[in-house]
Symmetry: C7
Amino acid sequence: MAGPARALAQILFVVLIAIALRAAAQRLILKITTRAGERGELRSKSPSVPGSAAARRNPRATALGSVLSNAASVTIFGIATAIILGELGVNLAPVLASAGVLGIAIGFGAQNLVQDFLAGIFMLLEDQYGVGDVIVVGNISGTVEGVSLRLTRIRDVSGVVWHVRNGTIQQAGNECQGWARTVIDYPVSIGRDIPQVRELMLATAIEMWQEPEWHGVILEEPQVWGVQAVSADEVLIRLTARTVPLRQWEVARALRQRLKIALDVPADERSNVHIAGAAAAAS
Amino acid sequence: MAGPARALAQILFVVLIAIALRAAAQRLILKITTRAGERGELRSKSPSVPGSAAARRNPRATALGSVLSNAASVTIFGIATAIILGELGVNLAPVLASAGVLGIAIGFGAQNLVQDFLAGIFMLLEDQYGVGDVIVVGNISGTVEGVSLRLTRIRDVSGVVWHVRNGTIQQAGNECQGWARTVIDYPVSIGRDIPQVRELMLATAIEMWQEPEWHGVILEEPQVWGVQAVSADEVLIRLTARTVPLRQWEVARALRQRLKIALDVPADERSNVHIAGAAAAAS
Amino acid sequence: MAGPARALAQILFVVLIAIALRAAAQRLILKITTRAGERGELRSKSPSVPGSAAARRNPRATALGSVLSNAASVTIFGIATAIILGELGVNLAPVLASAGVLGIAIGFGAQNLVQDFLAGIFMLLEDQYGVGDVIVVGNISGTVEGVSLRLTRIRDVSGVVWHVRNGTIQQAGNECQGWARTVIDYPVSIGRDIPQVRELMLATAIEMWQEPEWHGVILEEPQVWGVQAVSADEVLIRLTARTVPLRQWEVARALRQRLKIALDVPADERSNVHIAGAAAAAS
Amino acid sequence: MAGPARALAQILFVVLIAIALRAAAQRLILKITTRAGERGELRSKSPSVPGSAAARRNPRATALGSVLSNAASVTIFGIATAIILGELGVNLAPVLASAGVLGIAIGFGAQNLVQDFLAGIFMLLEDQYGVGDVIVVGNISGTVEGVSLRLTRIRDVSGVVWHVRNGTIQQAGNECQGWARTVIDYPVSIGRDIPQVRELMLATAIEMWQEPEWHGVILEEPQVWGVQAVSADEVLIRLTARTVPLRQWEVARALRQRLKIALDVPADERSNVHIAGAAAAAS
Amino acid sequence: MAGPARALAQILFVVLIAIALRAAAQRLILKITTRAGERGELRSKSPSVPGSAAARRNPRATALGSVLSNAASVTIFGIATAIILGELGVNLAPVLASAGVLGIAIGFGAQNLVQDFLAGIFMLLEDQYGVGDVIVVGNISGTVEGVSLRLTRIRDVSGVVWHVRNGTIQQAGNECQGWARTVIDYPVSIGRDIPQVRELMLATAIEMWQEPEWHGVILEEPQVWGVQAVSADEVLIRLTARTVPLRQWEVARALRQRLKIALDVPADERSNVHIAGAAAAAS
Amino acid sequence: MAGPARALAQILFVVLIAIALRAAAQRLILKITTRAGERGELRSKSPSVPGSAAARRNPRATALGSVLSNAASVTIFGIATAIILGELGVNLAPVLASAGVLGIAIGFGAQNLVQDFLAGIFMLLEDQYGVGDVIVVGNISGTVEGVSLRLTRIRDVSGVVWHVRNGTIQQAGNECQGWARTVIDYPVSIGRDIPQVRELMLATAIEMWQEPEWHGVILEEPQVWGVQAVSADEVLIRLTARTVPLRQWEVARALRQRLKIALDVPADERSNVHIAGAAAAAS
Amino acid sequence: MAGPARALAQILFVVLIAIALRAAAQRLILKITTRAGERGELRSKSPSVPGSAAARRNPRATALGSVLSNAASVTIFGIATAIILGELGVNLAPVLASAGVLGIAIGFGAQNLVQDFLAGIFMLLEDQYGVGDVIVVGNISGTVEGVSLRLTRIRDVSGVVWHVRNGTIQQAGNECQGWARTVIDYPVSIGRDIPQVRELMLATAIEMWQEPEWHGVILEEPQVWGVQAVSADEVLIRLTARTVPLRQWEVARALRQRLKIALDVPADERSNVHIAGAAAAAS
């Protein structure tokens, strides 16, 4: 009677430990995902993306929590079952060996999958981006439409919906964090007077900044940084302006048009410049 | 007699557990594939791709179900057989060791295969694309003609049928989800009056949008976003229009033709522009 | 006497199971390869590649069958021999360990080989292409001259015979399935009248389509899709025509010549256009 | 009684060793991270990045310390628990085998993760860069906004925030260490007198260097290194100037503008040069 | 006495099995290499590469045979020795474990080597190319000077001898199989009359084909396939001719010269064409 | 008493062997690093990099020695401890299994790290480069500022400090070994008289070489190797000169300027050449 | 006494076998390296690289021999020691398990190293290149200065010394084997008379070949192969000449200069040609 009794005691012991471990794991997972959720909510208080963060973070945090707690339960109870079966005298070597071979055979092929999920989990915990952000991933750039643990769904400017596996993302660029900067390298004919062109460019940009329509969009006085490059034919002059996120392209387009108009020389003056520039004269 | 009886009891016990496990696995698989099927049907109610989703989803869901349930049965009964043989006193070490070596030797080579299948299963569950969608995969773009768990069959615009392994698809772009956007960067000679050109472009696009033929295709009033780039010779002006999926290229072609005609300057005016632009004059 | 007798019984038992397993494996293999063969024959009834499919499929199906059934026999009898030797009291640990080490050492290097064979088997089962098809694989395009389980032999337009390992084929494009489409982006000088050019192009293509020589080759009325791109110098207009497979290049060449002739402006008109286009005038 | 007593003694022995090992590990980790922190503080005494190093180093060193000491505790107590359970007579083979299979299956997928963390740890210990530095990583260049053990957060000139995994960084270029050098390859028309142009360039650069505004920025007298390249149309002359870190681009832009103005030939002289250069004359 | 006697019997048994296995392996290897040799000889009867195949195949087949039979002998007798040592009571676990660790440690590094040899073996069996063939491998093209199981030695047109590892060859193109085709895309000025140019080209090519010097080299009447591409400046017309292998480049060069001469317009006519094409007129 | 006594004897035996092994390992490591150090010192006697080698070699050799001897001590005493614990009756299977799983799980991720260190060790032993050398690694070129076992720190011409992992260096080019050669491919207009140009170039280079300022820098009489390439517009003529290491760029710049001046034709002659070259004449 | 005696006998037996194995291994290694050395000497009798092969081969063969025989001794005596320790009753499981884990953990990282050495060994045995040869490896081309088992040291034309790991060499091109061929694709203006140009080119090349200075360098009469390519502006004509190895570039440069001079048309004729070619006429 001692044998069965001891076996029973051991089984009970194992079951208790398993339950305790699972409870501990659940609590740990809850804590981590809650903290990640709170961080998301804190960030959602930033004025630029109001109210959206909480909405976007919760589903992913919840998904992560349920995936992790399921994984923990399966692992803990699976091992407990194996120990108990062993106590009952069932020979587990074949099961384990089969599982090992199977695990390895599939593990080679599944490594991409595991990579995707691990990358997704860390992306969530680090809050790299969320639904609604405009991101750059590889050669794709667009608005995030959805994030799951395995992949990110992005819609680009043409309306194409891209499914990108999280594990293949080596560098993710987020265009929605705090501010953006419009950088325009404006080409100017080599024959122009550079200081005068710079003044014109700066005046044009500041005028635009002071208009009410743009004052809330351009965050600071625009700056002309200077001559970015000189080639045989033209000079590139760099002008920059800090803007609210996601408005930088709009500002750039408006600025380019204004610069174009401001820098156009009157027709008679232009023809002279061009002729000299093209250096082809005939008499 | 105690020995054989106990062995028999254990074998029965193993068989029962195996049957129970298999039943549970089948139910789980059924649930997952059914849910995936229902999601597909829900989506099929969207107006843009009417009635096709249900048709396209069911075969793949069924295939997935049968593959998974076969795999589960083979695994469960295989292990059960191994345990029973062990109970009967057959020495299983050689079998398992051989299987292990073989499994590893093949596993290295088969990882691509496993990857393809795993990728296919997740593609199905996530409903990335289905038969009839136009997708972009690597440098191939075309209509999906068939999807299996291992590969996707795409026919491109030239009629070439591409077989693409699911595991090699890192980013899949689906052009059939909800809406598309035509983005035209129209080149305009540097000598033109930009605001006037923008007005002309917008008027042309809106006129087209208001025609009954195009009103159902272009979903919103087209927009001129502005000066996308300035180079020494020309200015690119961006015009966009939201369209029904898969009609974006048609809209783009029609728009380009209308813009070309609208922006063509009268012959006498043009010659002046060109001469100034090319800056070659002779007297 | 009980020991030897039991050993003999066990050996017999193992032999019987091995024979049964092998018979089952053979039947399964036969079923799979036969089904693959039948699918090939069904496809061979399509009018475009008459009678060739049956011829091309059978050798590969047969090769696959014999390779698979040899592999199954070797595996099953090998394991059976190992079990029997174990029963006879030979210590198999060294053999298995050596085999394991060897298997792993070679397995690393042989994974390409295994990949090639697995890819070849699936290519056969999925009937991706057969002897006589024109396919595109990586940067090679040509007619399939032979397919084995390990590699595909392709002869390109210059007569070079390429041996391509099946495992390195990530995307195989088959140009012989049902129909092909000729897509011509014809460049037109920026100074031309686009609607008139489109009419001319369409008329030219339809005229060609109505000729008896081409009517069986071009399957539908050709279409002018419109302005594909606009640059500073020229406009690309896209014209398409569905053709019988493998005739698309021939149709494209003939169409280009006809378009060239149809779109050539009379000499005096041309010189004007060109001078304006080149924007170099002298008085 | 001897059995349990001995088991107890062994358990105590194991517990003691575990505690001792953990204490030793903690001390070692503290020592390493402290030394790394001190090195950071020493470096922070360099004038160019005053006071920032201490601030930027401490969080990472602390994070590293806590991660490492947690990892050490989990490992040591985990193994101790395993040994003790073994002493208590629980059969640990199933647990260990399961853990092994699981570890391998996940290990394949997690190798990127491990790589990222190991790379991060060594980056910290080697003090490659810190918050506030401007770095070049792959094709991204910008200011470091944050460094964790797994990834580096960089904000580029357009305001895009990039998350770069530490393990993918093969070459990290730090632009903030001690000094920088502006290298300008200025294009000069082939018809110019090179020695005279060099003198002009050098004079322009030295004049700029002597201005009070730039004297603290340009660390040494600028140098004209000479003819970097000769092509059919132009000669590239290289001019360099050592500057304070992060001011090199500003200096380059100002220098390019001054060179442009200094090297511009008077209008009448220029037209001659250009005509000869373009070699198109007509009488 | 029973123990030693049984051990001796077992040893004898093992030795006999080893000898039998080795004999079987030798026969199998001989059969395979002989068949490969015969296939090579059959092929050598093709007229294009007379008498060379037998010469070139035998050394490689012999090398393969001796490598394989040595490998088989070492493997079989090694395992037999291990079993016998085990029977003699020597504890083999350390040897095997050491061998295992060593095998894995080296196996990782040696996988390239194994790949090369396996690729070489299959290349031989499939007779992809032999000494004297002109092949294209990666970006190297030249005459095969030697083939071993590990690498292929190629001499290119400049006389450089390349050593290419067999395992790195993913696609091998053989230019010596049966026939080659010269494909010339001849550029014709946009102003020419295309049908007339085609006639001229075809006449030129057929005239060349009918010359006795070339009649044995060009296998069929050359064909003008038509307009391969149209650009703003010129039209590419494709002309093809089937030739004997390795003579295609010679034919192409001779054809290009004849086409050049035939298509040259008389001087006065040309100047008109060119002036119109260059569109620069002056009065 | 026999049991404990024997165990004690065995423990003593193990400890002695461990100490002996460690002493042997230390001596071996000392010998290797000393020899590497001496080789470095020998090399430091070469005149071109006087006195620096000894300084630069010693730290790395010392670092290597301490790393290696620490690794050896940890390994040897770790194994000895394991054996002794085993002798004391502690069950080591769990420890070893845990260590194994952990080792593999981390080993996958740490392979880059191990690669870096192994590459660093061999770089030291082979003395590929040292602090102060100018090297080319991938697309980075600059002066070595520091070498550790894991990475190399390089400062490029712009002052950017690059941290390059040793394991990622496939080809390291050292520009400081013995001599360097300036290779100038000077472009000459197609209309020039080549032999005369060559004479001019050679005379210019030899004149420079004979100046005292350059005589110690240019090691041999410069050579004009001849016409490196001919294109439609210009001829490239190659001129070379052996120089002291690291002065080659300076020599090249000075030579280019002198060649430019020497080859400039007088103004009136030039205009003729250019007009002919540009082939545009007007009367 | 039977136990110890038997153990002693077994130890002796193991020692003897180890010594025998080592002697056999040494002899085998000696044989292989000697044969490789002899092959090198045979090759050194070829006239083109006189006397150098023996000198260059011996050090590498000797190095290989000593590395291999050390490796064999360590392996054999290591295993023998393990067996003997096992016989003495020391429990080797921990040692072997530790070694296994360590071996795997390092093996992953060391695979590059093993690859390099294996590649080096095979390079030696196959005599791919030696000290003094000019080789092409990846994008590096230069003279081999040294070969070790792990890397190859190459000095390129600029004097940069490259250290290339043997394992990264996929294709090694040796420019010093028997002969080289100069291949010149000389560009000729489209307006020239091709047959006359060919005659001129051939005459120029043959004249050069007949000069005593070049007769020993150019091995055969040069050949004009014909029109290699035709473009809108020019015709490339290919001329080839077999030369002594390493003199091909010298011959090419001399030939290009002679061709340039021979093909230059007289000034008055040229101006006509050019004007027609540039197609710009003015009256």
